[in-house]
Symmetry: C2
Subunit: 285 residues, 2 copies
């Protein structure tokens, strides 16, 4: 990596716990590849210390931050400005420090959106079906609603309150026709019949339950693009079934890389070296 | 250097301005040489932001800090504990973060003391003459008084109030027989006649005035050990004259390296790699 001297700018991830984060390896490799005078470290910040950590970021002159679990909501409350999409999502995962001002944003949904676009699929004007209503589903649904509005956004979930709130927020803030229903075999079958894009945002299929899938293989039509937010394993049961059915697929790994690339570009102002970042993550998975 | 991952601990220097600090190069080389999982960065902290920076250090879980101009006094006020020597000096240049507690200390005088000892001269019980009463003189005089008490400590200076305060503090806190006088050719000649160790702590002789020296060459006896806090140039006029007179000499570079080694050992708990650190500084000077 580029030698660190007294002019090297500092970025970091804050979270708790943080010891297994790939972000330092990922961003330092990217900084080094472009010989940028930046370094990226990890800080284990306890709940209750986010406000002081953030004041420290400002006083110490950090260039930027990644924010991860469990600090994404609290961090949004203590930065100076929050971009509209992050405000709609309700949490931030990125801070840019610009002239003493801390700007919060959320690159999770943009990571998924960029991954779709790189796969040749712009969801704007399409029928999008989201499975799940938790953090990933919310980031993706609100980002699509705000930045690439689908013709219709249907959300199937199992947590009624969370689902209802997400559908209402998509309708209100994104001004996108949206609906929600309890996730069952029947609702799945119904909505998969008209969907152009399937965004799987539940944890089903994640290691060690690699043979599980929410979606019966026989419902998958080759016209459907299938995205899976799960990235361990990279080829989930859902993606394997989708490939077998002739569908285009997008791995969760692309969303992880995409959100990191968005952060990198906010901090540095230069295009992220995608292949460098991909090699780092592939080496660790 | 050792790759940075999410378990890498962070140390930093805070100061203003900070862009020319050698400390990141010095400490990162030392961490790398011993393959320690630490990284050292520099933060430009504006006056007025030291308290928030220090709270940030705590919340972000830094391992330790170097503190430099103009923050050494303010930093002492905001840490949780201050070691007795640093308290006597009146400022800190080192912070160790231990179990949520910020411990302040001052390694400047210890750096000079260690440099004397490495040159085979323990000042304990000797007659020590200090020239100057500013920050370096104060750190050195108080550290000797607290940790290696001379038989007598004589201080010659040109700032009456600063000089009087330093002499009084050495007498009171260090319980060392001490005296002070205005620095003139006559007082110099008088006290050099009985001194075993001369500690030059004024800026005279520093680049670009490399031919200046406070001490007439004819006053230098071969029994005297001569230390010069100036490190640019390494061989000041005073040290060249002292060598010519047959005196043992200690360069200011040794004090700079010594204070950094003390910090390194406080943060890591392992002996500092002196030769690695020396090569970094020599390469930059």
């Amino acid at each position: 990596m580029t030698p660190i001297d007294a002019k090297t700018q500092v970025c970091a991830v804050i979270g708790h716990p943080i010891g297994h984060s790939l972000s330092p390896a990922l961003h330092n490799a990217a900084f080094a590849a472009l010989e940028l005078p930046l370094v990226y470290v990890a800080h284990d910040v306890l709940p209750g210390c986010v406000g002081r950590a953030m004041e420290g970021i400002r006083a110490l002159g950090y260039r930027g931050l990644s924010v991860t679990i469990p600090h994404k909501v609290k961090a949004m409350e203590v930065v100076d400005q929050v971009d509209p999409t992050a405000r709609a999502i309700g949490c931030i995962n990125t801070v840019v420090h610009e002239g003493g001002c801390l700007l919060g944003s959320n690159s999770d949904g943009r990571g998924a959106l960029n991954a779709l676009r790189q796969a040749g699929c712009d969801p704007t004007g399409k029928n999008v079906l989201v499975l799940g209503s938790g953090g990933a589903a919310r980031a993706i649904a609100m980002t699509l609603a705000c930045e690439a509005p689908p013709a219709r956004l249907e959300i199937l979930g199992v947590e009624p309150d969370e689902l209802e709130r997400l559908v209402r927020d998509v309708q209100q803030r994104g001004q996108v026709p949206a609906g929600g229903a309890r996730l069952t075999r029947a609702t799945l079958c119904e909505h998969l019949g008209t969907a152009d894009v399937l965004m799987h945002c539940s944890p089903i299929g994640m290691h060690p339950n690699e043979d599980a899938s929410l979606v019966p293989a026989e419902y998958l039509r080759p016209e459907l693009l299938v995205f899976d937010a799960v990235y361990n394993p990279r080829q989930t049961r859902l993606l394997r079934d989708a490939s077998a059915a002739g569908c285009a697929t997008v791995e969760g790994l692309e969303m992880f890389l995409g959100q990191a690339a968005v952060q990198f570009e906010l901090w540095t102002g230069v295009p992220a070296p995608h292949e460098v970042m991909r090699r780092v993550v592939e080496a660790h998975l």
